[in-house]
Symmetry: D2
């Protein structure tokens, strides 16, 4: 049984708090949010303590692990403080918008031997995981091409876009990690895109549609396409093409119902609305993996280094977008 505190009681923090409160080997002890009401509501719902300060939580010897779901700019200081306080850390992505700052954080925590995991939830999706495992087991031979489709249902508020670090650091970073999870080390990044959806996003200096091509050290070619809007829901698919076959992970649907009528046949539900519903199983499995890591001492994956590596790809993508060139990495 691992005792937890959750820092940040927004949408995703509250979801994690609920998952922790249901987990057979986890025990939620306390929650914190700078918005006092959010923490109080979550604490009341789940029958736990709303801590007055982060310091209270870090000083609490009854808390073994913290889950960080606060705003991105607080990730680095909170990871550092928690690791120094001897807590295991599960931190939402990204580590930071600034690669150097993330690397510096990594250097600081390295000697502490803390258990630190970054919340790239997609690695825990049962279907994406099955693709990775069946590929590793040799079911389709060597990977040659990987196509990741990742389209959000609708753009975030402009206020969020402005502080998001841009689409590559905010959204594509999940796809970069998924690419690394399935295809291994990446050696080259080409990215392009445009402002096709919402002029305000362009005015805020960002793009809202992107296409990226990566090359893996293995030689495998990888394509990612992103859109900040998708009429039919949250579109999340993976296609792994290998020497002897292909594995596709399709979207998930609320039901298995198909409609046949004079307007067309075989019509399924729309895709899941967004990440909370689409990745419900993945978030639960992510917690499970982290708890297992803390209990066994086996290092969790994705690790802090994985978080840095994804950020490096996001940075390279930004540079490629500016320059029109493929950017070589290591």
């Amino acid at each position: 049984m691992i005792s937890f505190a959750v820092l940040g009681c927004g949408r995703i923090g509250r979801m994690h708090a609920r998952n922790l409160s249901r987990h057979p080997r986890a025990r939620l002890v306390s929650v914190f949010d700078i918005v006092t009401k959010s923490a109080a509501d979550t604490a009341a719902e789940l029958g736990v303590t709303a801590a007055a300060t982060v310091e209270d939580i870090l000083a609490d010897r009854g808390v073994e692990a913290v889950l960080i779901a606060t705003s991105t700019d607080t990730h680095v200081p909170l990871i550092l403080a928690a690791a120094r306080a001897g807590k295991a850390v599960l931190c939402e992505k990204p580590i930071d918008l600034d690669l150097k700052r993330a690397e510096a954080c990594g250097a600081e925590i390295a000697p502490l031997n803390a258990t630190v995991m970054i919340g790239f939830n997609r690695r825990f999706d049962p279907s994406f995981r099955a693709v990775q495992q069946r590929l590793s087991a040799g079911e389709i031979g060597a990977l040659e091409q990987l196509v990741i489709t990742s389209r959000d249902p609708s753009p975030p508020p402009i206020a969020y876009v402005r502080v998001s670090g841009g689409i590559f650091r905010d959204m594509t970073i999940h796809d970069f990690d998924l690419a690394r999870f399935i295809a291994g080390d990446i050696t080259s990044v080409y990215a392009t895109g445009g402002n096709l959806i919402d002029p305000d996003i362009g005015a805020a200096g960002d793009i809202d549609a992107a296409m990226i091509v990566l090359r893996a050290r293995s030689g495998a070619l990888i394509h990612i396409n992103n859109s900040r809007r998708c009429a039919y829901g949250y579109d999340q698919r993976v296609e792994a093409f290998g020497a002897t076959g292909m594995l596709q992970a399709q979207n998930r649907f609320a039901t298995s119902v198909q409609h046949w009528g004079k307007g067309g046949t075989g019509t399924r539900d729309t895709a899941q609305p967004f990440f909370i519903e689409r990745y419900a199983d993945a978030y639960a499995a992510e917690i499970d993996h982290f708890v297992e890591s803390v209990m066994t001492g086996k290092p969790p994956a994705p690790s802090f280094a994985d978080g840095v590596a994804a950020l490096k790809l996001a940075e390279a993508a930004s540079e490629s977008l500016r320059s029109g060139r493929a950017i070589s990495l290591g």
Copy 2:
């Protein structure tokens, strides 16, 4: 090269005439229809002769085979006349609405050694045929259950319903033959149904929706469902469930396109409009099989006896509908 005449230039006769005119080993010589204009139009379109009488065709030594696509009541006399004239015969289903008359016809032609084939086109559908062949090859073990879905897009005119012999002889007869093709001899028939679609069909003494359960000599159980109306097109499917697996033949679609939108995802085309489009490949393959039979002397299938057997099942279904009992056969 086999030379053909086509008797009957309605919708289906004209389709056969076109198929014959395109077939590399067939040569269409002449056509006939009691509606002179129909014969003339077909003859003009395909550059062949419009015969003035059936007798002219049967007397023509340049005609080796006749395809009979006239109204059902003329099938028996035309089969007899053609067989006596030494022609090979491909006759549209059903042989006749009256089982005894069909059997008498069979007895008369037996000594003539004529090549006679009945046009159960579905045996030649590439997908249904693949199911039958893969089942025969042992791919799913012994057949245990067969489910045939067969729904017409819309009811025929009431005038046609009145002379059709009822849904079992007119429509289900195809499914009976398909059941025999896949599951072999049938030993029991239960049928029920109702007048769910068009009150005029009920007033004409027929039903427009039916469910049938057959038992094969092998022990396999068979379900057929029929509807005279189907909102999404012509629904034609087969599911063969065996000891070690299942084979399903799905509907066919004009394109492979799927639409994803806010009303639903994966929407395909409607099913094909009706038999001419749905079974285009099957009709061509049917002609091919008949030509091959005539050229090689190998008996065609479905044979005249298959036509009689399907009619027997239709008769048993009618009796079951009246009595509410399963009817045993041989």
Copy 3:
């Protein structure tokens, strides 16, 4: 918050106990099983009391509701005892193997005004429920045909078959309830089947493959097919065909992964292994509905009367199997 005891800690009882212990509005208090170890294990796992006797549970004023998951022959006495003790009851299907005994039980509990629900879990499957709701909402017009496919992965032990009451009371009873859920009152039952899978089942006087045709009061035709063995897993599907369209609920799969290789394309996972996995969501929703009923006083569905009605259909099916006739009901 409703406090519960679970009677019967076999496979399905334990699953229910776990669901109750996770439910936000339920509280599991105690469990019982005649096999003391089963109760003790379940109690230990979930941190509740293992009651020494059923009487202890029924006498416990801290228990508001009992979930009965014991062997079928104990259902009637336990329902009666629990209802008399003022407990709400959720009882696994079937009520009893004997229709008269079930009806007598119904007559006895009627004046007690007890909340009694029968555990037909399939009504709570999100996809089947969506079919029922979308049909009710008029999405495909009036229901004309309903096809229920229901195939178990492998036969139960012969010892179980002998006391099961036969396939219709044991297995098809779920499909009968589902048919009533979607199509309403049933007025006619035809059933046939055979011993196609395991000769021992035949020797025990039962069949292992069945096809059933029902007619609903509305005129709708219903087909059910059952098999005690299915090579590709637990096959559970529903097709509702209406005047203006069709709704199909397909199987569920552990992942959305498809494999493409030289042996074929688009290969999905096998169907779920069996009911625990296939109906995980349904069992949770069933508990939820029951808790809601107990809390609000709104009668639960499926009711005791639904349990009796399904048993009546099973009885009629047995009679039809013997006689070869369709059996009329009310």
Copy 4:
């Protein structure tokens, strides 16, 4: 009725000759091949003349149109000679491996007002065409992303690779044309790839796997992936993602049969073996469009200019592959 000669009786030339001989508004008059036997065999099969020389054909006033299916290096001289002789021309892709030579040819034929069409067959695939038409009709709003998957079943002979002009001019050129057909003018090309399949292809200076990203003048982003080998057949798919929905054209299959077994469920046939089977309908529709053009004088599409435009994209892709930069066009 348009009278045709076919130049080149290899695999694709013979297929065209057969299609012409079946076409209701075309008449095949003669064929030619530098391999005399190929021409003789085709002529014998179809009952036409095997011309001794191209000059004979061009001098034949009974020939209105020529279909050029000879080796690529002869396309330009044959187009010129045929256009000068007043024949309508349908020429297989590519026009030439050298862009300047193709452009010079275009300049020479411009004043001749000849009907010249380039054989980009995919525009005539019923599913790809439906995607283009439904997109044009506004069904999914403005196009934002287009993903073209195009994988050959197995690499061509090395001798062919050496003279092919490289994967972009030989294989991707079809995808470039399809991209233009659906997304319009292209303004930027990025291409990368590798030698993942056959070392001999690398030794011959070519790649055998490629990923390309294009930008259209409209702002739409386009991804193409190519492989010279595909374990499950000839993989040809298109996904058009727009502001209000998505259209996908899936692969085609020989039958609609799905297999369910203990190794997996829903297994379809492999994809079609290669272009002759996959694009059978498209080749027939291509001929039809060309015949229609010649008869009506309405310019055919894809035009000679479309052939040049696709070649320009292939050239830009080669340059991008070398330089690692996106190449801007017009």
